[in-house]
Amino acid sequence: MKIYIMLAYTHTQADRPVLAEVIENLRADGFEVETGIAETFAVRPETLRVDADLYVLKSHSAMWLNLAAVLDAQNARILNSYSSCVATLNKIRTAARLHAAEIPIPRSWVTGDLARLSEVAVPLLIKPNIGRSGFGIQLVRDRSELATTKVADGMLVQELIDPVADELKLYVVGEQVFGVRKDRDSGVREPVAVERSLEDIARRCGRALGLDIFGIDVMFPPTGPVVVDVNYFPSFKGVPAAPRALSEFIRSYARA
């Protein structure tokens, strides 16, 4: 059985220790594992054909997503699904789906023109609709900044959370949930046990967005936990159990 891993563009194997271990495990299990970085190819899309039993979409790049679109149209098996990955990269879509699924998120507005948010209380976070790893997020503390803050296109605007506890990163592999606490002051991360109610929120995010392998960032204002970000197939850095959980999930998914 052949598994193809659509890799993100990074410079060395050391940038992805978790994935390196997953690949090793899958090969030890008898899978043929091929990896590729689309950014290094020149592809004739009309000649692209499904030639793996399962594609694992690790990359978040537009190039890989385009090729995934071509393979998806030919009914390739892709983990996570192509449509869920595209939807999750879009912050407005993601926030709307989470809200519709009654998952707590910060109060949010959608606008193409910040001047129209005159009734909204500051401070606010202005997030580009299609954003990766916090890129382009702006903080507006003063109302007068709304008129001068440049926006590219549609923006998701969210109230700034004033946390009463450290942020949690929850990593999900199928039904398993792993927690990492991020110290508010030092930024140091450490694995932590996850409360049942938070596990439940994480799993509900997965169902709402159609994702099997993903991470969420949870913050804690006085009113209770809110989900502030969702990423498909994150790095799983700092999750000691991740390589094994990922290998097992991908193995059973491929054989299902």
Binding site: R44, A100, W109, V110
Partner: protein, 265 residues
């Protein structure tokens, strides 16, 4: 009957369609993404049918996607319109159904395309582009690098010179076909209207192949005839229908039909 029309700019055809629909008793609300602003929790499906006139900007596409996720009925269907925005996936789909398209490359590294210039010019276009914006013909490495800029991925196609130096724009409305020829790029309003062109059997066959390949029954496409052979260079979900006789009446009829289908389901 409540209709929401998602549109990014108005033209005389759509303006007349809206007037027609209102005259037929429809409650029409225009949703213009560039000026839209709302609290997320207020976004609900409030219309029987949403017409996706254009979703080229990420904001428009997000609103459409969100409405679709909330269960809204859309014309054309959102998943199809959304896939059409991606030129890479669309080209592959067309080619798989035997529709002639220029040889196409997609890459994250523009240098890999340089050797192709030895065999003639390339057309570089944004993979998510619309209305011809950002489309450039390149013949040298410098032009290629300038046209690609920082974009990734880069979509490039073999350039085929048009036999009549014109672009043929074909509109397809539920099997009815209309064709105009226009210059490219468009410069004036008259350029946009173009000159009517009779629809021949080959064009008719091509249009039906595209309709099958992309599961569309309301769209427009651009064809270049080069060395006597047609090449489909673009397909759009709605099109401006400029230059099509009776376009407003036809579109109104098709929308009313779609609305009937939506309310019957």
């Amino acid at each position: 009957m409540k209709l929401g029309i998602l549109l990014e700019r108005r033209n005389p055809v759509i303006t007349e369609v809206i007037a027609n629909l209102r005259a037929r008793g429809a409650e029409v609300e225009l949703i213009e993404p560039q000026t839209a602003s709302f609290e997320l929790s207020e976004l609900r499906v409030r219309h029987d049918l949403y017409i996706l006139k254009s979703i080229a900007s990420p904001m428009a596409a997000s609103i459409a996607a969100t409405l679709d996720a909330l269960g809204a009925r859309t014309f054309n269907p959102f998943p199809i319109v959304s896939r059409l925005r991606n030129k890479v996936a669309t080209l592959a789909q067309l080619a798989a159904h035997g529709v002639p398209v220029p040889t196409t490359w997609v890459t994250g590294n523009v240098e890999t395309l340089v050797p192709q210039l030895a065999r003639g010019p390339l057309i570089v276009k944004p993979y998510m582009g619309s209305r011809g914006i950002g489309v450039a013909k390149v013949t040298t490495r410098d032009e290629l690098l300038a046209a690609a800029g920082d974009a990734s991925p880069i979509l490039a196609q073999r350039f085929h010179p048009s036999d009549d130096s014109l672009d043929h724009k074909i509109s397809f409305v539920s099997g009815q076909l209309f064709a105009v020829k226009r210059i490219f790029p468009l410069r004036t309003y008259d350029d946009k209207i173009g000159t009517p062109l009779p629809v021949d059997d080959r064009t008719r066959e091509l249009a039906h192949s595209i309709a099958r390949a992309l599961a569309l029954d309301f769209f427009s496409f651009d064809v270049i005839v080069s060395g006597g052979a047609p090449y489909v260079v673009d397909v759009g979900p709605f099109g401006s229908f400029m230059g099509v006789p009776d376009a407003p009446a036809l579109i109104t009829k098709r929308i009313l039909q779609a609305w009937e289908e939506a309310t019957r389901r």
